[in-house]
């Protein structure tokens, strides 16, 4: 077997080992990489920054622990930004494996800012059939969620007085790991015309850029890079995503090296024949 053929048939376990080293080593080496902010992330930040004390924002934490790495940093940053400004949050968790994780997140951030459930935020929890739930909330939040996650009636909550449906919230920022993102665009924005912004996993990011020029979403944060961009704008103390970008950069360089090795091997072995 020629050298170039060996390049193409490299045992994948060597690739795994090299990528593993590329991810592990930067965790111990202190350095930073610059993060440039894209317009689609800046528009989400500018929107949240423009909110005033007492405004209501709907945050959908529609993901499960498998994609926490990408979506948790942006969820944390946005919630901290909102609580710091006195914005009241209505939060849902429409992924079946996510309500417990979302409740932990909400409790963590609310304790930091001494915010009270029912007064400063309302955590609705999970209901099955996200598409129907999103449509029903457009009529009245109390149709799918007569009570919040903790069993407290929405009608008894001070912050939910006079809040009937999406008309009383400024926008929806949905952190999505699956097809529920389509439901927010189709049902919430398409049917009820409520402004929607998305925070999606890296895998999904390329598929949702098309909704920006059509103004079906006003902002898009894609994956860890999107979270790092948002953190660089928010300038908060804890920046999980920014710290991980340096590791991401090194890992990507390693992946590119292997792609080049494979392609060089392919073209050179073709030429030899």
């Amino acid at each position: 077997m020629s050298f170039y053929e060996k390049m193409m048939t490299l045992d994948r376990r060597w690739v795994y080992l090299c990528v593993g080293i590329a991810v592990a080593v930067p965790l111990f080496v202190p350095f930073t990489v610059p993060v440039s902010v894209t317009p689609e992330v800046r528009s989400v930040y500018d929107f949240v920054e423009s909110l005033k004390e007492g405004d209501r924002l709907f945050i959908a934490i529609d993901y499960d622990p498998t994609v926490m790495a990408e979506l948790q940093p942006m969820s944390l940053t946005i919630m901290r930004q909102c609580f710091a400004k006195g914005v009241k949050l209505i939060i849902s968790a429409l992924h079946q494996n996510g309500p417990g994780m979302a409740e932990q997140l909400v409790s963590l951030v609310s304790k930091e800012f001494d915010k009270k459930s029912g007064v400063d935020y309302c955590y609705l929890g999970y209901k099955p059939y996200p598409g129907l739930t999103i449509l029903a909330m457009g009529q009245n939040f109390r149709i799918p969620f007569p009570q919040d996650y903790y069993g407290v009636s929405l009608d008894s909550m001070p912050m939910m007085q006079g809040v009937r449906n999406y008309d009383q919230v400024k926008a929806i920022i949905a952190m999505e790991a699956g097809w529920v993102a389509d439901s927010w665009i189709r049902d919430a924005n398409g049917r009820y015309k409520v402004p929607v912004a998305l925070g999606v996993t890296g895998v999904m990011a390329a598929d949702y850029f098309q909704y920006l020029p059509s103004k079906q979403i006003f902002g898009l944060m894609g994956g860890l890079k999107g979270a790092a961009e948002y953190e660089s704008l928010a300038k908060q103390k804890e920046r999980q995503a920014t710290g991980r970008m340096k590791v991401q950069t090194i890992a990507h360089i390693m992946v590119i090296i292997f792609i080049v090795i494979g392609n060089v091997g392919f073209f050179m072995s073709k030429r030899k024949k």
Partner: protein, 207 residues
């Protein structure tokens, strides 16, 4: 780190390493972790569905509030379970028909509006060469058209039509490449978080 956290996080570390072991070769530790994840996810979802679906939408309205009309969708739901019986599976056709009808009635108009008509109108924008936005609109329109031409198989891809189809293929390839790139980014992000967890656990243990 207290003993409870050390034990639970230690279990998470063990299961993470079990999952990583598949990278070398298949083994019983990987199978154990894989089966655990499937079983725990299914069990967790069943409980979540019970407390967030069955209790507030069936038990409380019917038993506690006397809203007996909730029994109509409940019976339709129970009829769905007859799928599992060879003799009675025909009963499930009625709730499936109702479910499909309602679903299509809700979804089709909104899907047409949001994913086809709005996207079409976003493609049909003013074009030109005067500024970057107009050039961008022109490129979007041309590439969308070429991509659609590629999938038109009722005419042979020769001549100008063939060239348009070739541009369409390249457009699709660029799109797939972008999709591959962000997929790699997404998967590497998850790996980074797991490695961070392992490193932080080791640091916490060592103190």
């Amino acid at each position: 780190m207290d003993l409870g956290s050390a034990l639970w996080n230690g279990l998470a570390v063990f299961l993470t390493l079990c999952i990583f072991s598949i990278l070398y070769k298949d083994n019983p530790f990987y199978k154990l972790a894989e089966h655990l994840v499937v079983g725990i996810s299914a069990g967790y979802f069943a409980i979540i569905l019970y407390y967030n679906g069955f209790l507030p939408k069936v038990w409380v309205p019917v038993v506690k509030e006397g809203k007996f009309y909730y029994l109509i969708p409940t019976i339709l739901g129970i009829m769905m379970w007859t799928r599992f019986s060879r003799k009675w599976s025909w009963v499930s056709r009625y709730p499936i028909a109702a479910y499909m009808g309602i679903g299509m009635g809700l979804a089709i108009p909104l899907t047409m509006y949001a994913f086809i008509l709005t996207q079409l109108s976003a493609t049909m924008q003013p074009v030109g060469f005067a500024n970057a936005k107009l050039i961008n609109n022109l490129l979007v329109a041309v590439w969308v058209l070429c991509g659609l031409i590629y999938f038109f198989f009722s005419k042979e891809h020769t001549g100008a039509f063939g060239w348009a189809a070739k541009i369409g293929i390249w457009t699709l390839m660029v799109g797939f490449g972008a999709g591959f790139g962000v997929t790699v980014m997404g998967r590497v992000s998850i790996l980074i978080e797991r490695f961070e967890f392992l490193v932080n656990y080791a640091k916490a243990l060592i103190g």
